[in-house]
Amino acid sequence: MTHDTVDVLIVGAGASGAAIAWSLLDTRMRILCLEQGPHVPDSQFPSRDDDYELARYGAFSADPNVRKLRQDYPINVDETCITPVNFNGVGGSTINFLGHWPRMKPSDFRARSLDGVAQDWPIDYDILAPFYDQNDRNTGVSGLGGNPAYPVYTPELPPIPIGKLGQKLAMGFNALGWHWWPSDVAILSRDHDGRSKCVNAGTCDLGCAAGAKGGTNFTYWPILENAGVELRTQCRVREVLTDDTTGLATGVLYYGPDGHLHSQKAEMVVLACNGIGTPRLLLNSASKSFPEGLCNRSDQVGRNLMFHPLTGVSGVFDEPMEGHKGPMACAILSQEFYEGDPARGFSRGYGLHSGRSTTPMTYALGGYGIDSPIPWGAAHRHIMDNVYPNLASLTVVAEDLPEPHNRVTLDPSLTDSDDVPAPKVSYTLGDNTRAMLAHGTARATELLLAAGARTILNKGGPEVWRRAGWHQMGTCRMGENPDTSVVNEWGRCHDVKNLFIVDGSIFVTAGAVNPTSTIQALALYIGDRIKANIATLFD
């Protein structure tokens, strides 16, 4: 390990950091990635243990405020109804993500033009399409071609089984004449490219010990490390350094595994720390030239935070649905109500996702939503014996609209284990989102009844699932106008021309689909643009 100047310094070894490193491999530039977490070998994944479910409430919790591992940073969530969740390690949140892999749709890039809300992206679906395809090939994607909700593309591998539960719901959708389709998933339906197929364990959030899920720990990183990309783990970047004279980034300061502060110089810095971590790092990088935070002359860093607010409806059927068998978030997906329709009383739309059931402890502790325990006493016995096995559920995945007051700031007192200021999330649900969720709840209920459910269960009330902030977007958004955006149309910061952002923070709108496929396609696209503009990259 040396601290000589590198050509490219990437902060974060998750979905986007790995993808852009792969894109830049053929430049033969010297690439270094700093990752605050460690390597997490699949031999340590808890699904090999008898009491595997306990890990969800400890070291493998999705919530960093629960895990409290050295590599995690706390997040002040006192002023948000949705708690961000993540994972820190080589692979980032792709270690514990669920592998659901839908693409954004052409209309997602044109919300202003089509529906008069939010902003249009400076790029479109057609620009990203080849990068979606490339990323799918690199990741290993299973699905069924011919989905009429999208322009034509065909996943490389056949779909994973939708199972008894998926078939039951599919027949309900057909009865109502609504769209549905087997989910695209970054999970192997058959052995592929030296990796083993899914064993239907149903514990995707505990790391995939089979190696079937397309986390970058299994896909990109083995290739990258073999190709000479240097990966330094347990290295937490404190701030990005800039030269007040040139206005360019010169490198970073980071805490190494020895606990000491190190300096690393770089010709180009790429931030890949997700929609919370990237604005946190920029705000922690204030300087004389950037007193309000790096690249924040527009006051847009940290603003427009979007999640995918979620709620769910469960149906109790007359027979066991075997919902614990198979990837937990992925069976079928309906986009019947995805495209905007003013007659519904809200802008934009939502998806109805059929996950499967979870495991008993998680259901007992999470209940009909995911946040509250089920009843105790005789009711508990009845629910676990007669309701839990017979459940099939739909999750309403709503498109959030960007609102400036939903934002990430620095907490004035909370810090991580290296005394670096921690982020604070301030977030409220908009009226549009509430209307969308109410509509979705009613439609999900209608569907479950059409599919044969005899009882409907839901959380009730207007609350969304709290510990469900998987998708963090919009906090350094992309745009052509430096007054209203943080990065340009290919991820380069308006204010610092050798600083790039490639994670979900650059999303302009959120769509209503899981974002990782789009995050990685964007990272590949930005890598391509860097290569295409290499001669004038910092002009």
């Binding site: 052409p106 089984p161 064993v199 364990a201 495209e339 495991t359 402890m361 508990h380 676990m384």
Partner: protein
């Protein structure tokens, strides 16, 4: 922090646990107390911040109550000592369902899910074709961003 389990009335705790997750005699499923979840709870109390305080306070209230230990007493304490009760309930659920045999009692395999997992047959192509036929028959349903209308075949 509890240093020794001797400080806890394990029998009383087990009685409480059997009320929280009662047995299912028709299917031969034991309650949480009967299978020894008390040991899990006592251990958790030793390791969780404030765990021992929650447990000790709750047991003290049960002992001090001028009523027999039955569901109605726990319902009243659930309201009066919500934090203590919720801590105990959470640990009870965790202790009970971390046991492979109790997982199996509700239809989930007792084995660790890796490497064995579950056998789930892939749907034959003709099944998928038949299921998706009505969806495909409608044609494209996404909007064309150029004109804002739905794409048509």
């Amino acid at each position: 922090m509890i240093k020794h389990s001797d400080n806890i009335d394990r029998d009383l705790l087990s009685q409480i646990l059997d009320l929280l997750i009662p047995a299912g005699p028709a299917r031969g499923i034991p309650g949480a107390g009967a299978i020894g979840v008390a040991d899990f709870v006592i251990k958790a109390a030793a390791f969780c911040p404030d765990g021992s305080a929650h447990l000790v306070a709750f047991l003290h209230s049960v002992k001090a109550a001028p009523r027999p230990l039955e569901e109605s007493l726990l319902r009243s304490l659930e309201q009066a000592q919500a934090a203590d009760f919720q801590w105990l309930l959470r640990q009870t659920y965790m202790g009970y369902y971390s046991r492979p045999d109790m997982r199996a009692s509700v239809g989930v395999a007792p084995w660790p899910v890796h490497p064995k997992g579950y056998d789930v047959a892939a749907e034959p192509q003709e099944t998928l074709d038949a299921l998706t036929a009505p969806v495909r028959a409608r044609g494209p349903i996404y909007r064309n961003p150029v004109c804002g209308t739905k794409v048509t075949t």
